[in-house]
C-alpha cells in the first residue's frame, strides 16, 4: 500500500476555485418531483459558518447511482447526482434535486435512501462525511444499519425536516459542526482498504 496524501483545510478563499454556476441546481426549476434542500451550517458556539462548502452525492429516484458527466456545466436534462454549494454570509445553503431511492441491488446493505454529504470549511483540516435521510421512509430508515445504531437524538441530526418549499416540497437539513446537537459525522474507512464492496454487505434479510 502506498502512503496516502494528507488532507489540508479548504481555507477561506475557495470561492473562485470550487463553487460553480448552478452547483446547487441538480435539476432545473419546474422539474416534476423536485425538492429543495436547505439549511444552516453552525459552529460549536452556534454561530453561522459563512465559509463552508458542502457537496451532495446521490442516487436518482430510480435507485441508480448516476455515472454521467456534466455537473459543472449542466445541460438541464441530465441527472448527474452531484451538487456543490457554498454557504452564504448567514451560513445558509440551498440546492434543488430529486429524492433519491435506495440503490436497488437487494444483496447489498439495506441503506435507506439518502444523500451522501461532504463538509469542507476553513478551520476544518480534514473534511467530514455525513448523510441526509428522509423521514417518510419509515421502514427503510428503521432497517438502515447506520440509523439503527444511533440513539434518537443523534439519529435526528441526519434526518431532513419537511418545511414546505416554495416551488415544491422543501426540506431543512442543518449541520452543527460541534457542540449541542452535533451532527453525526461518519468514518467510512472501516470497510478495509483493499476489500471489494462485497465485503461490506450485510446478510440479506431472510424471508
Amino acid at each position: 500500500m502506498l502512503e496516502l496524501t494528507p488532507s489540508q483545510t479548504v481555507g477561506p478563499f475557495f470561492a473562485f476555485g470550487l463553487p460553480f454556476s448552478g452547483g446547487g441546481d441538480v435539476v432545473p426549476v419546474g422539474t416534476p418531483g423536485a425538492i429543495t434542500l436547505h439549511g444552516t451550517v453552525r459552529d460549536g458556539a452556534g454561530a453561522a459558518v459563512p465559509d463552508a462548502l458542502l457537496e451532495f452525492w446521490q442516487a436518482g429516484p430510480d435507485g441508480r447511482v448516476p455515472a454521467r458527466p456534466g455537473s459543472l456545466r449542466r445541460d438541464g436534462r441530465t441527472f448527474t447526482g452531484f451538487a456543490r454549494v457554498a454557504t452564504d454570509r448567514a451560513g445558509d445553503y440551498r440546492l434543488r434535486t430529486l429524492r433519491p431511492a435506495a440503490p436497488s441491488d437487494a444483496v447489498q446493505v439495506r441503506h435507506a435512501p439518502h444523500l451522501a454529504v461532504t463538509v469542507f470549511a476553513r478551520g476544518l483540516l480534514h473534511h467530514l462525511f455525513t448523510r441526509v435521510y428522509f423521514p417518510n421512509h419509515v421502514q427503510a430508515n428503521a432497517d438502515d444499519p447506520l440509523l439503527a445504531a444511533l440513539d434518537e437524538e443523534r439519529r435526528a441530526t441526519l434526518m431532513a425536516v419537511p418545511d414546505g418549499g416554495v416551488t415544491g416540497p422543501g426540506y431543512r437539513f442543518d449541520v452543527r459542526m460541534q457542540g449541542p446537537g452535533e451532527t453525526v459525522f461518519l468514518d467510512l474507512s472501516a470497510h478495509g482498504l483493499a476489500q471489494p464492496p462485497a465485503e461490506t454487505v450485510e446478510t440479506p434479510e431472510t424471508p
Binding site: M1, L2, E3, L4, T5, P6, S7, Q8, T9, G11, P12, F13, F16, G17, L18, D43, G44, A47, W57, Q58, A59, G63, V65, P66, A67, R68, G70, S71, L72, R73, T80, P100, P103, H114, L115, A116, T118, R122, L125, H126, H127, L128, L146, L150, R154, M177, Q178, E182, V184, F185, L186, D187, L188, A190, H191, L193, Q195, P196, P197, A198
Partner: protein
Amino acid sequence: MTTTDGVPDPGPRTATQREVSAEIATAAGAAPRTDGHPDRAYLPYRSTALRAPQRPLVVSPPSLTELAAPVFGIADVTPIEADLTRHHTGDPLGERIIVTGRVIDGDGRPVRNQLVEIWQANASGRYRHEGDQHPAPLDPNFTGGGRALTDEDGTYRFVTIKPGAYPWRNHTNAWRPAHIHFSLFGTAFTQRLVTQMYFPGDPLFGLDPIFQSVTDEKAQQRLIAAYDHDVTEPEWALGYRWDIVLDGAHATPPDTDDPDGA
C-alpha cells in the same frame, strides 16, 4: 491589522509565533493519526477550536452511493482551464510554472479521467477574494482557479504562476508558506480529498500550523512537490512534480449505474 481570514479573532489576545511554535512542538510529540491525515482538533490552528467535532466519528459501512463517485468529462472542463496564465488578455506577473503529477490510489492504480481542481494566491500572495485584505496587489491578469481531468495514466498538468506567501491572522506575524490548493475525486466518494501542495525548501514550514497539523514528518513530505528539470520547459517555465495518493483502493462497485451512463 487587516484580516485575511474573514472572521473575528477567536480570543482576546493573539498568540505570538513563539507560543504557537511551542504548541506545534507539543503536538508533534503526540501520536499521529495512523492514516496520515491531521487531527481536526489542532490547537495551533485557532479556527479548529469551534469547528472540529467533539464526538467521535460514527463508523459505518459505506453505502453504494458512497462507493461510487461523480463522473466528470470533457463536457465539464475545457483545456484552457488548466492554464491559469491564459485566463485574461495579458500575462500574469510572477514565475511561470508547470505543475504535473499522477493521481493514484493506495494500490498505485491510476485514477483516470477524474476532476482535479486548484486555486491559489497570485505571485504577490493575494487571493482574488473579498475576504483577502492583505495589502499586496491584485493582478488583473490572474484569477487563480483551474480545472483539469486526469488522463488514462492518472496524470494531470497545470500551467500557472508560483504563488506568494501571505500573512494571516492565526497569531501575530503568522505567514502561510506558498501553496496551491488541490481538490480531488477518486472512483469512490469515500476517496474525496482536499489538500494543499507546497514548494520544496520553504522556510515557513516549521512555523505554519496548517502544514504542521500533519504531525508525521514523512506525511509532511508527501505534501511537498519536487522540482523536476524534466518537467521544466526551456525558455518557458519551471517544472514541479507532485503525485497524489487517495485514500483506499476500492474495487468497482456492483453495476448499479445507469446503463446509459458514461
